[in-house]
């Protein structure tokens, strides 16, 4: 199964990169962990994100769209980075996540979220619905 692992932001990470020395240390530890993930065939993708002060939000309300510039409040609800892992089950994802060096200076969180897969829709997706969905996708793809 494929999971996305979010590195949740903190007040620190929202301030930008830490001082060089600390950053080197963190990069080393994280680099080692990433290497382990790669060598175990678990890592599919991953990257760090700049603080929300570089970001924008598009707010939807009915037909209206409003663009809001960062930074955004509530650091704990923001994302500072992510991985995509291919694992056998959530237990394995948790076991890997526990091995991750603390990605932040202070207390921090990783959040693991499985991707939807076709099986998840089970009987809710009848062949007719699937065909319709396929038709929609086909049109979207311009084919």
């Amino acid at each position: 199964m494929r999971v996305m692992v979010f590195v949740k932001a903190t007040d620190d990470s929202e301030q930008g990169l830490p001082p060089t020395e600390e950053m080197t240390e963190m990069f080393e530890a994280m680099g080692k962990f990433n290497e382990e993930l790669v060598n175990a065939g678990v890592m599919v993708a991953g990257d760090g994100l700049k603080p929300s002060s570089f970001g924008k939000r598009i707010h939807f309300d009915g037909a209206n769209r409003t663009v809001i510039d960062g930074p955004f409040a509530e650091a704990r609800e923001l994302v500072a980075g992510y991985w995509i892992w291919e694992v056998k089950d959530m237990d394995e994802a948790v076991a890997w996540a526990k091995r991750c060096p603390n990605p932040m200076r202070g207390p921090s969180d990783l959040e693991i979220r499985p991707f939807y897969e076709m099986e998840d829709f089970g009987d809710a997706v009848t062949p007719e619905i699937a065909a319709h969905e396929q038709g929609l996708r086909d049109r979207l793809a311009g084919e």
Binding site: E35, V38, N39, A40, G41, V42, M43, V44, A45, I84, E86, K88, D89, D91, E92, V94, A95, W96, K98, M118, P127, A130, A131, E133, Q134, R137, D138, L140, A141, E143
Partner: protein
């Protein structure tokens, strides 16, 4: 270990109880991550795969009693290996004690298996992944048949149960268990060392490893028998093996070529079967459903293989072919001339009637159906292709496109009679029926 016992090996703990206990499940997950590397390290010491597996299970049982008390150790792999080693040494001591003096034996054994903390750390950190790689090379050793190599690799490296392997290969558990037992015996008898081969030996044995990984992938991707067209778990397992190999041997272009090939092919898994389970050929697939993440990974691996000078390797060439399709936004945008050229090269480095058949298809797309017919007629008599459904299927397609519908119909019907896959048969009969229109 008997076949029956081997089949039961994963049932070391009552599964129902385990599933209900989060601590045990967490420990089991850590164990699964470490298992293959652990067995590799233990097999290197014992030269006995059954013993290595037993010791690994014993280490798990110890962890299941110890870890709930003190928590999961910082380096669980080292901890498990140390626990298993102690069991190994205790067992050896026990046996030797009957004949000789205790203290002397203990000294000898400690010298043989250096148990100091530093030595353990050094030996178990295994940054090069040598123990895991050594195990993979042993499981894929050419002394055993390719079916047995595949089963053994899935069992030891993938950690699949015998039941899971049997289901994946549509075989029964007893047959798979017997196959694995025979393979282990053959490895023991041949005195295979659980080391990573170097230099010329590495070059000689790597193809056999890659062959098994790709065999597992293909068994999942192009299910040749049964009702289902694809068996994604086997693809996922093969991709994982490929990624492990690419992580541990990043300088081997063909490892990267194989990984690229698998990633790009797997990117189409969702698009290969229609909503009714029917096979959808490449040119008719909805490309919006191709997994762009896997395509990117595949193209990246291919770039790395080519940068290492490996663009003429059989896997890299096949990956380059897959990449031509991956890069085309629509079927019409496919660069068939490039594909035809790549098949010309592939036919030289990997001569085979199947490659020639694909080459004929590529030439038909690049230069017209007559070009395809000319090439396919050159290989029609190859013994290997006599009962090979894709040959009359391709021929039918060329004939149809050349306007020779009656002959096309006969070719599609011949192909339908040859295929073992029900979904593919439906597809071919559909094409035969369409020749009337």
């Amino acid at each position: 270990m008997s076949a029956a016992r081997l089949a039961l090996a994963p049932a070391f703990a009552d599964k129902a109880r385990m599933a209900a206990d989060p601590t045990h499940r967490a420990i089991e997950a850590v164990f699964r991550i470490e298992r293959a590397r652990l067995i590799g390290a233990l097999a290197r010491m014992t030269r006995d795969l059954d013993r290595a597996e037993e010791l690994a299970q014993e280490a798990l049982l110890i962890a299941l009693t110890e870890w709930p008390k003190g928590g999961v150790p910082d380096n669980p792999g080292a901890w498990l290996t140390a626990a298993a080693k102690r069991r190994l040494i205790d067992g050896a001591r026990h046996r030797s004690m009957r004949e000789r003096k205790h203290a002397q034996i203990a000294r000898e054994l400690d010298a043989k298996y250096d148990m100091s903390a530093e030595a353990l750390e050094a030996a178990l950190d295994d940054p090069l992944g040598d123990e895991l790689l050594g195990l993979i090379f042993a499981a894929c050793h050419p002394v055993i048949t390719s079916e047995a190599r595949a089963a053994l690799t899935l069992r030891l490296v993938g950690g699949l149960t015998v039941e899971e392997i049997a289901r994946a290969f549509l075989s029964n558990e007893a047959a798979i268990a017997a196959r694995i037992t025979r393979a282990k015996k053959a490895i023991g008898k041949a005195g295979v060392a659980f080391e990573v081969p170097r230099g010329a030996e590495l070059n000689a044995r790597l193809p056999s490893v890659l062959e098994i990984v790709y065999l597992v992938f293909n068994e999942g991707y192009a299910a040749t028998t049964g009702a289902s067209l694809v068996r994604p778990p086997l693809c996922a397992e093969a991709q994982r093996l490929g990624r492990i190999l690419a992580g541990l041997m990043p300088e081997q272009p063909e490892v990267l070529g194989l990984l690229a090939l698998m990633e790009i092919q797997a990117s189409r898994l969702a698009a290969r079967s229609g909503p009714d389970g029917r096979f959808v050929p490449l040119t008719e697939q909805n490309r919006a459903r191709w997994d762009q993440l896997l395509i990117r990974r595949g193209l990246n691996a291919l770039d790395r293989a080519e940068a290492l000078g490996g663009s003429d390797g059989p896997y890299a060439l096949q990956a380059a072919l897959a990449a031509c399709h991956a890069r085309a936004r629509t079927a019409e945008a496919t660069d068939w001339r490039r594909i035809a050229g790549l098949y010309d090269r592939l036919g030289q480095v990997m001569p085979s009637p199947v490659v020639e058949l694909n080459r004929a298809v590529a030439h038909s797309m690049a230069f017209g159906p007559e070009a395809g017919l000319r090439l396919v007629d050159e290989i029609a008599d190859a013994a290997m292709l006599r009962n090979y459904a894709p040959l009359p299927a391709a021929r039918g397609d060329f004939l149809f496109r050349a306007g020779r519908h009656r002959e096309a119909r006969a070719a599609f019907e011949a192909a339908a009679a040859l295929t073992g896959n029900e979904r593919e048969r439906d597809f071919l009969l559909g094409r035969a029926a369409a020749c009337d229109g």
